[in-house]
Symmetry: C2
Subunit: 189 residues, 2 copies
């Protein structure tokens, strides 16, 4: 089973990925793949260099470059535990790349939704160096994701979690959904 | 307040629109606008003619043709009750058209999410003449919506309702959310 975890920036996506990891199912991060490629090309890990490599990869390998580079990592996870969690899929085209590479594997999309205003407040409070400080920054970052087509992945989710309440409520929901998915198709953690 | 109701085919979108109408807030249907234009142009109301007029409208008035035609109807509803519900918005570009036409009006997006397999089962059971009979028909219809960019509208929803349980559960949730929205900004129904 391939589990694709998706959600807009600041929605709480990483909590879902971490819950799978806590239960013994590691993930492949699409963002890490671009960062690894940046290092491989002898570039410093700055926001600008990562963006540059992300564009170059797409010129070299096509729109689904990152998904293509993820395939071998996904294959290794599937071989190991029967479950591969993928963090950071941004378009249904990328989902199609995984579908094509693993035609017999069940693919499940898990999305988390948080209303934009709450995502903005959370990202601003988090204050990671690349997090938005203003509403304009926030909208620009959202648009970057939306242009890739992340909305399509969210719209086609098999499981949707709403994260608009307390952290405890959300953690409870995540635990329940992860349990439900793993029970429907248990791996070998 | 402008309330944009969105959701994939078979998700349960019309239930939300009907709940607003039941409380005295009529809606503007983007689909009806295209059907009215089809009749105005002396064409019979067939699926093919409606699709043709939909394409022609976009050639004549641009990608947001239907939203542009909806603006006057929205203005009339706002004048009448202070609330305009819009059914069938398919892209953030269309949302932008309403934002541009009503810069001082609060705009709220309400989305409903149902997992694809459940939507397919519901649409097949409904069996309206244009409802999908096979999974391939279903995917094709989904793609039509996704190409317009409906995923972006769903991803940016201020209120998200999950409709994956019983009809009664869903009706209860819809009632609560509609109440919440109207209380946050009461109209004059």
């Amino acid at each position: 089973m391939i589990i694709i975890v998706t959600g807009m920036p600041g929605s709480g996506k990483s909590k879902i990925v971490k819950e799978f990891e806590r239960r013994g199912f590691p993930s492949v991060s699409m963002g890490d793949i671009v960062r690894e490629e940046t290092v491989k090309r002898g570039l410093e890990l700055t926001k600008e260099n990562v963006a540059k490599v992300s564009i170059r990869l797409r010129q070299e390998l096509g729109q689904n470059a990152v998904a293509k580079l993820a395939v071998e990592k996904v294959r290794a996870l599937l071989k190991n535990s029967g479950v591969a969690v993928i963090d950071g899929v941004r378009s249904l085209d990328e989902v199609g790349t995984f579908r094509g590479a693993f035609p017999d594997e069940r693919i499940v999309i898990v999305a988390v939704h948080t209303p934009p205003k709450q995502r903005f407040e959370r990202l601003r409070a988090r204050g990671r160096h690349d997090d938005p400080k203003t509403w304009e920054d926030f909208e620009e970052r959202d648009w970057k994701e939306l242009r890739f087509g992340i909305g399509g992945v969210i719209a086609m989710a098999d499981y949707m979690i709403i994260n608009d309440g307390s952290r405890e409520e959300y953690e409870k929901k995540v635990g329940e959904i992860v349990e439900l998915i793993l029970t429907s198709n248990p791996g070998r953690a």
